[in-house]
């Protein structure tokens, strides 16, 4: 009765299988606030990090993140998984909105610059998740497989929020060339990252 239960070495009890983000998103589409909270926990670092990278100002990045996450809540029913994953959809929305914010800010007040005067609101980069580190490494490795011009063109557009015409000016290159480098750079990245069609 009291005999110790023998334990076999190996993986412990199977963990509760984590719900896929796609599945969470369809629950969100049905108005499930609990699912939305889970979705927040799993996507907010990516959303905020990307917004922050593009718009740079912490307060503005927070605004953009809030807008995007609310947009996800409101329009979850419009997500079509045959057109890509939930993660891809959410980050596409994030990038579009962050770029809009940068361009709008520049257009509305020519020289207005946004920043935090005190510098006190900055959050330390905390990414102790192993998966995240691996993601970084893989993306960095794959970026390294691009030609210099491809890498700079993709980086200035994606992380810098620049149009291809601006990118061409910054790189002192022909706009037609930059357009092409953006596409073939993405093809090479896609293949290196193993993004399935």
């Amino acid at each position: 009765m009291n005999a110790k239960t023998l334990q076999f070495p190996g993986p412990g009890p199977a963990e509760e299988p984590e719900e896929s983000l796609d599945e969470l998103l369809s629950q969100v589409a049905r108005g499930d606030e609990e699912a939305f909270a889970q979705l927040y926990d799993r996507t907010s670092s990516a959303v905020y990090g990307l917004a922050r990278r593009v718009v740079r100002d912490p307060a503005r990045a927070e605004e953009v993140s809030q807008e995007v996450l609310l947009q996800v809540w409101r329009t979850a029913s419009r997500f079509d998984r045959s057109r890509g994953s939930a993660k891809s959809w959410i980050l596409t929305l994030t990038h579009r909105r962050a770029v809009d914010a940068v361009r709008h800010d520049q257009a509305s007040t020519d020289r207005e610059r946004r920043y935090d005067w005190t510098g006190g609101r900055d959050v330390d980069v905390v990414d102790d998740e192993v998966t995240l580190r691996m993601e970084h490494q893989q993306v960095r490795r794959c970026m390294g497989t691009l030609t210099t011009l491809q890498r700079e063109a993709v980086g200035l557009a994606y992380y810098g929020g620049h149009t291809y015409a601006e990118t061409a000016t910054l790189l002192d290159a022909n706009p037609a060339t930059i357009k092409t480098r953006m596409r073939d750079g993405l093809i090479r990245l896609r293949d290196c990252l193993g993004v399935a069609s």
Binding site: G49, E62, T118, V154, Y164, S197
Partner: protein, 236 residues
């Protein structure tokens, strides 16, 4: 459009087209299955670049997003059934079927577009103040004043926007002050040689004025203004 229009799919996936080209390319996407298919892969690829930039968001964001969601209605799913009478009116079912397909792909591809306008009520901290029902817009002078304060007393928050103060060199910074009965309290100095910026201020308290002074780079060394205000905004 030029023959190399397909090339634009890369720039489009990176949001690197200007508004006009973007609209044109979206037109192209409706009829080009090659580009539509490539776009799905490119967006997934770009998303990986996005994920690699992950950073923990400010602690308050979670609560604010979840609270906003619980009072925000959701859009209904798109139902792509075309009424029979309408099909007849179009003459052939083929035309109607094509219209349905176009509507479906539009709904997917331009989901970022179609929600832009009705999203304005979802606000971050700065726009929340600027759009607060009781917001007062106070300026340091008539016309295009260099300092404007959007002040919501109900939120006890203000957005201070500084635009085009006189040019200063790298040895100087502009510094903002909230002035109450006890005197000036610093709202922080702007970077050196900078004449424009925006700041969210949460603690105006009993202040009656927001003032700007020119200080040594990085702000006043004494914690008090070292000279007279360049601009001032009365809060009362």
């Amino acid at each position: 459009m030029s023959p190399d229009v397909h090339t634009l799919v890369g720039a489009y996936a990176l949001d690197a087209l200007d508004e006009r080209e973007q609209a044109d390319f979206e037109q192209h996407l409706q009829s080009c299955t090659t580009c539509s298919a490539e776009l799905v892969e490119f967006q997934a690829t770009a998303a990986r670049l996005g994920e690699a930039a992950s950073m923990a968001p400010p602690a308050g964001l979670r609560e604010s997003v979840l609270a906003a969601a619980s009072r925000t209605p959701q859009q209904r799913p798109v139902v792509t059934v075309v009424p029979i009478s309408r099909w007849r009116r179009y003459g052939t079912t083929l035309v109607a079927a094509a219209a349905v397909i176009a509507a479906v792909s539009l709904g997917v591809l331009y989901v970022g577009e179609q929600n832009r306008n009705d999203e304005l009520q979802t606000q971050g901290p700065v726009s929340r103040v600027k759009n607060a029902p009781d917001v007062e817009v106070l300026a340091s002078g008539p016309g295009k004043a260099p300092v404007r304060v959007y002040y919501s007393r109900s939120l006890d928050q203000a957005v201070v926007m500084v635009d085009d103060l006189p040019t200063i060199d790298k040895k100087h910074s502009y510094e903002m002050w909230a002035i109450d009965a006890e005197g000036p309290k610093s709202l922080g100095a702007m970077p050196e040689a900078t004449e424009s910026g925006t700041k969210l201020v949460s603690d105006l308290g009993q202040a009656t004025q927001v003032a700007v002074t020119m200080e040594p780079a990085g702000g006043s060394p004494t914690g008090k203004p070292t000279g007279p205000p360049v601009e001032a905004v009365d809060l009362t």
